[in-house]
């Protein structure tokens, strides 16, 4: 079933606060094999000018994946998640995510289209601190293979 073009621009209420912990950053860094001490040693991070340990560039997906669940839960979005693959991913970092951040994510449907029988949905998640400082924008293209 083709996705409704009227979904474009739909925005969802902000997520609950995601508090970034040092241990979480260290675990994620280990999982991608990132050994830079700025992920685990606040002193090393400060030597580079960061207030605390910083997350690897793709850590933002941990914050935004949960936030984007609102799209999956939206009954108007007829996407067959059993057939969904991740097509593209983009991060724009306004500054690195760091330990102690209290982040709020706002998800928006940026595009829907159907190409060669595949439904494609682009979501944008804007991540900001609780106080409104922009931190990261994550854009994901999801492709439901052969469903249109």
């Amino acid at each position: 079933m083709a996705l409704d073009a009227g979904l474009v621009g739909r925005s969802y209420p902000p997520s609950a606060v995601y508090e970034v912990g040092r241990a979480t950053i260290a675990e994620f860094a280990a999982a991608v094999g990132a050994t830079d001490p700025a992920h685990t040693d606040a002193g090393a991070a400060r030597a580079l000018g960061h207030p605390d340990v910083v997350a690897p560039p793709t850590f933002a997906i941990v914050v935004t994946l949960g936030a984007a669940d609102v799209v999956i839960a939206d009954p108007d979005v007829a996407l067959d998640y059993s057939r969904v693959v991740h097509g593209e991913q983009r991060f724009t970092h306004h500054r690195p995510i760091r330990a102690g951040d209290r982040l709020v994510s706002t998800t928006t449907i940026e595009a829907v289209r159907t190409v060669a029988g595949n439904d494609m949905l682009t979501t944008r998640v804007d991540v900001a601190t609780e106080d409104g400082e922009a931190v990261c924008t994550a854009t994901s293209l999801l492709v439901a293979r052969g469903t249109a």
Binding site: A31, D36, L48, T58, E88, R90
Partner: protein, 142 residues
């Protein structure tokens, strides 16, 4: 501590040190736990083959995360990446053995931008096949 790379020391065509990563099932389990992405196509052959995949595949985001290391190790600051995008072209199939799959990351400076920023173009392959396409990062150098 690693020294931060200076913009003055790079030019279009500057190559990043090549990196090769081995990805085993254990790495997929670790990444699943750390990322919260528990999709069974990344740990169950039964589910993976049931949806038409050749077998368990690596999380695309794990491959993207591994590829980022070539950039952050080179730049000397994991906070230096201001923009990073990839297209997931081909899955990395990870066999259930001790060897796993190999992911090789090459990169070079594709453009020198304003403000000490450069665009790095990445070539990410596994078993000789390109697994990420249009993989590029914008990096703020010292």
């Amino acid at each position: 501590m690693t020294a931060r790379l200076r913009a003055a020391d790079v030019a279009v065509g500057t190559e990043l040190p090549e990196q090769t990563h081995r990805v085993t099932r254990a790495d997929l389990v670790r990444y699943a736990g750390a990322s919260g992405d528990l999709n069974p196509i990344h740990w169950s052959d039964r589910v993976a083959t049931g949806v038409g995949l050749p077998g368990v595949i690596a999380h695309g985001m794990l491959t993207m995360g591994l590829a980022a290391r070539a950039v952050t190790d080179w730049a000397g600051d994991p906070g230096a990446v201001v923009e990073y995008q990839v297209r997931f072209g081909r899955p990395v199939v990870v066999p259930d053995d001790d060897t796993g799959a190999e992911v090789t990351v090459r990169g070079k400076v594709g453009a020198v931008l304003d403000g000490g920023r450069v665009r790095v173009d990445l070539m990410v392959t596994s078993g000789g096949e390109k697994v990420l396409s249009l993989a590029r990062a914008t990096v703020a150098l010292a």
